[in-house]
């Protein structure tokens, strides 16, 4: 096993723990926007696809890369847009009561 993979495992383990601790604290009110946000963040996979397209090492990797960039970009754009739309709807009660 290379040291890069071992480092990766350490990062994965730590990020997993951080994820658990942070997500546990997310209010159930916001579980739907949470899921659309993590979805958008997950689409960071687009960077791997961009490199595939840009390096153009083989025709196969080039074509697969293009489709992958399209799929991931739609998640980035759509995910952030809808999360923002949802969060804008959450308003607290007006302080003035008749």
């Amino acid at each position: 096993m290379s040291s890069a993979l071992l480092n990766g495992l350490f990062v994965f383990m730590l990020a997993g723990f951080i994820g658990f601790e942070i997500i546990k604290r997310v209010s159930p009110l916001l579980h739907t926007p949470l899921m659309s946000l993590t979805n958008a963040l997950d689409a960071i996979a687009v960077v791997g696809a961009i490199v595939l397209v840009g390096e153009h090492k083989s025709n196969l990797s080039f074509v697969l890369g293009i489709v992958a960039v399209i799929a991931a970009t739609s998640n980035v754009v759509g995910g952030f847009l809808i999360t923002d739309r949802m969060l804008k709807m959450f308003k607290t009660s007006r302080p003035t009561k008749p």
Binding site: G19, H31, M35, I50, V51, L64, G65, M89
Partner: protein, 464 residues
């Protein structure tokens, strides 16, 4: 550690900052007050990461990257503007897109690298591709069921679990073979196709009521496959994003499975919708008391504390805006109105909160099950709109009930219970609800939207 060239070092620093922003982004989701900062942090991190990647030294061809980014944005924008009722299927679809990206990149990397792939790398690569492809078809199936282009009814057959297990073990077996023989390129396409089939088979036996759990589980799979991709590409940013997404989906599926009273192994192995329940036929006639909108309005107007219990039936009837009018009318009369939200009162985790927030109901009036259950004895009226199984007291008292043990909202402890319902047909799970036969329960028969509207009219008439 080998010294990084200047450009490469800069890129790694950009990824480091993006990782921190992603973590902050989720941290700020803890409260509705800070949540929108979370989006900005996420967007900034994403922008930095993509911008930094474009400076990657190996990139020779920008034209097609830009074209793909533009097409992707073109697909993403309409997906960002779907109706709030359609958010669950949109989410399932985006899990499919994410998994597609991961699978395609994994496939490309396989053909670029073989036969010189170390065993551990091949194991991670196989995991990336297997998880990615089963999530891809599984999420498409889930989206189809939620959009109702596919039948929502669970399709089950004898030996279903064995068949599914068989497909999964073949895929894993092929992965092991590839780890031992990295040059066996002809095996790879089979290892992609089998999980694609498995993804379809996995979702076939799942009914609409289990969708909140399924979506969460697919969310977790999508995250894990992205993390595996991070290992393959040696991208710590991707490992972190995938681990965050994976743990988020995992936690949500645990919450959902608890709310549905399903064991955790049940969730892990995707064996949802197994309980084929038939209403245990107590055919003897029981009497129910019904009331008109006028009577209901009178009782509500005389109450001090009202708790509204919305279920997905309310959203199906598009009644949430009328419910807001009722909320306003009662609040104006000085009645304390709150909403009791069951964790599975929608088609995905938290869905009901979004639907009510869209109807301009303030979020501090949306109370979770555990926080409001203690308040029902002091509640004058519990008004149930389009919810059934989550209010069924049999879940607490009747050991023979299929939903025994499922956490429910204790509406029957309120002084008066009113249930808006089309007729006496049993609920989603096909189980009779004893709540309807209690002496202090009033059935309000009719369409949720129309009935709430009549109550609002009556309340307006009374105030003159």
């Amino acid at each position: 550690m080998t010294e990084l060239a200047g450009n490469q070092l800069l890129l790694e620093v950009v990824y480091l900052i993006a990782s921190a922003l992603f973590i902050l982004s989720l941290k700020w989701m803890s409260s509705p007050r800070t949540a929108r900062h979370g989006i900005w942090a996420g967007e900034l991190g994403m922008l930095l990461a993509i911008g930094g990647t474009l400076l990657h030294h190996g990139i020779v061809d920008y034209k097609w990257i830009v074209i793909a980014l533009v097409i992707g944005s073109g697909i993403g924008v309409p997906l960002g503007f779907v109706h709030m009722t359609a958010v669950p299927q949109r989410t399932a679809l985006s899990h499919a897109f994410g998994a597609l990206c991961v699978t395609l990149v994994g496939t490309a990397e396989f053909y670029l690298r073989t036969p010189n792939v170390a065993p551990f790398m091949m194991a991670v690569l196989s995991m990336e591709v297997i998880l990615g492809s089963l999530t891809f078809t599984g999420s498409l199936m889930a989206a189809g069921k939620l959009q109702e282009v596919l039948p929502q009814r669970p399709i089950t057959y004898k030996g279903q679990n064995l068949v599914n297990l068989f497909f999964l073990s073949v895929a894993v077996g092929l992965a092991v073979y590839l780890v031992l023989h990295p040059g066996a390129r002809q095996v790879f396409p089979v290892m992609v196709v089998i999980p694609l089939i498995f993804g379809v088979l996995m979702i076939i036996p799942i009914g609409g009521a289990d969708m909140p759990t399924v979506i969460s589980l697919l969310n977790s799979y999508a995250g894990l496959s992205a993390a595996a991709m991070g290992f393959v590409l040696d991208s710590k940013l991707l490992i972190i994003a995938g681990a965050l997404d994976g743990s988020s989906g995992f936690i949500l599926s645990v919450i959902m499975s608890k709310a549905m009273n399903r064991s955790f192994t049940n969730v892990l192995f995707g064996a949802f919708g197994q309980v084929q329940v038939k209403a245990a036929g107590s055919t003897e006639e029981q009497t129910v008391r019904s009331a008109t909108a006028e009577e209901a309005a009178g009782i509500l107007a005389a109450a001090n504390r009202v708790v509204i219990v919305p279920g997905y039936g309310m959203a199906v009837a598009q009644a949430q805006h009328k419910v807001r009018e009722l909320f306003d009318a009662l609040t104006k009369r000085g009645v304390d109105v709150r909403f009791a939200i069951h964790p599975v009162a929608g088609r995905m985790p938290g869905h009901m909160n979004v639907l009510l927030a869209e109807a301009d109901i303030p979020y501090d009036k949306l109370i979770e099950m555990d926080d409001i259950n203690g308040d029902f004895p002091q509640t004058d009226v519990a008004l149930v709109i389009g919810a059934n199984d989550v209010t069924n007291p049999a879940a607490r008292t009747d050991q023979s009930s299929p939903i025994f043990g499922m956490p429910i909202l204790d509406v029957e402890k309120a002084r008066t219970v009113m249930v808006i319902k089309r007729g006496m047909s049993p609920g989603f799970a096909g189980i009779d609800n004893p709540l309807y036969y209690f002496d202090h329960t009033l059935m309000l028969f009719g369409d949720a939207k129309a009935f709430v509207n009549s109550i609002v009219h009556e309340l307006a008439g009374n105030s003159h």
